[in-house]
Assembly symmetry: C2
Homo-oligomer: 206 residues x 2
DNA sequence: CTCCTTTTTCGACCATCGGTCGATTTTATA
DNA sequence: TATAAAATCGACCGATGGTCGAAAAAGGAG
């Protein structure tokens, strides 16, 4: 038989997929164990509770993304590319932006919040380090780098994961990022590209 | 007997208190009807579902706060006082910052999100109007006022409703607010007072 | 191989929760 | 007073997360 850890990883992967496609709240333990072909007792042999399992799933997700981001940081790219790369690494994948998942976002608030929190903790230090590098190169000019990065991440998360943002929002966000980091006006327009990947309700027409 | 609307208001008030003290998810319909001394059928005579009731509770909360805020806006105060007054009106009251509530914040994500969303919709136009006034008086100098106010509210909400913020966070936030609105550096330090009301984990000495 | 311990698996069972529904009582109305 | 409408009741339901004691596998030790 599977030797414990293997089975746990298998269960995590199954739950990961189901949580992403159907949402955490809408995925029952019964469904998970049915998909895995195990009994309930087995499930609770590996996990204390459904919520604790969610935490492990998130840890797994973010851990992988953080690894990619760290490689970017330690690469030879220039600062702008590093920042873009790190942000891309933590970007929700296409799977995660399924219609299903987007629609049930509201009732999926618990998972959404936990992911956000964990993602912030992982992304801030990496982006801060990249920003420090930018500081040294004169691209940015500011103190309290981690705090500033934190603010940017908060706004980015909150503003762009819904579909309720306009082009004006994006423009103001970039303006804010530049001023917050002490960058030259217009020098961070490249952020537009990152956001543009998601569907964006145009402020003017529609 | 009570004539319908009265009873509904009574139920809303009871639920309001329980949601604040115990959290939405941790308050069962059974507990509400026990507190109110009615049967389950009566409850569902007035509300389609527990979640729909939550929406009405929130509407009630925000509605009252918005009324106060609007009075401030239409008063003769100067701009700074108006801004402070409006923000104070939408501030969580002491009841809402109970230990109980703060601790269960995570598992209370659904209610928390809905409140945030509704609060934003109510507060943005009022604060934007005040900011426009500041623009006219030369205190601020910026375009896209509603968008900028929106960003500030997002950050303020996300940053200060947890207890994980430091003095540096506050300083950077104020710096950002000034730059975002085009205010003179240091001219918005008065915001510190508002935030100081909440307990704040000091960045340096724990 | 045998005996014993440990790990893993099983599934019946449970309490709680949000919600339904037909019956019944109360209130308003003509 | 008869009748319709509004309001109340509580037994009941299906789904859900979680428990528990027993049984099967796996792993040595002699």
């Amino acid at each position: 038989m599977k030797k414990g850890e293997k089975r746990k990883q298998e269960l995590l992967k199954i739950a990961y997929k189901m949580f992403l496609t159907k949402g955490y709240e809408n995925t029952s333990v019964d469904e998970i164990i049915e998909e895995a072909g195990i009994a309930k007792g087995t499930y609770y042999y590996y996990f204390e509770s459904k919520e604790q399992m969610l935490e492990e799933v998130i840890e797994m997700m973010i851990g992988q993304e953080a690894e990619v981001a760290r490689q970017v940081l330690n690469s030879g790219m220039d600062v702008v590319q590093k920042i873009l790369g790190i942000m891309a690494a933590f970007r929700p994948t296409q799977e995660e932006t399924t219609i299903e998942n987007a629609l049930h976002q509201q009732e999926n608030a618990l998972m959404h919040n936990k992911v956000k929190k964990r993602l912030m903790a992982a992304a801030i230090p990496l982006l801060a380090e990249a920003a420090e590098e930018g500081n040294r190169q004169g691209i940015f000019c500011c103190d309290h780098v981690p705090e500033r990065v934190k603010l940017l991440l908060i706004v980015g998360n909150e503003l762009f994961d819904e579909e309720n943002f306009t082009e004006s929002d994006v423009a103001v966000f970039i303006d804010m990022a530049e001023k917050l980091l002490g960058a030259k006006a217009g020098s961070m327009d490249y952020i537009k590209g990152l956001i543009g990947q998601t569907r964006c309700k145009n402020g003017e027409k529609e």
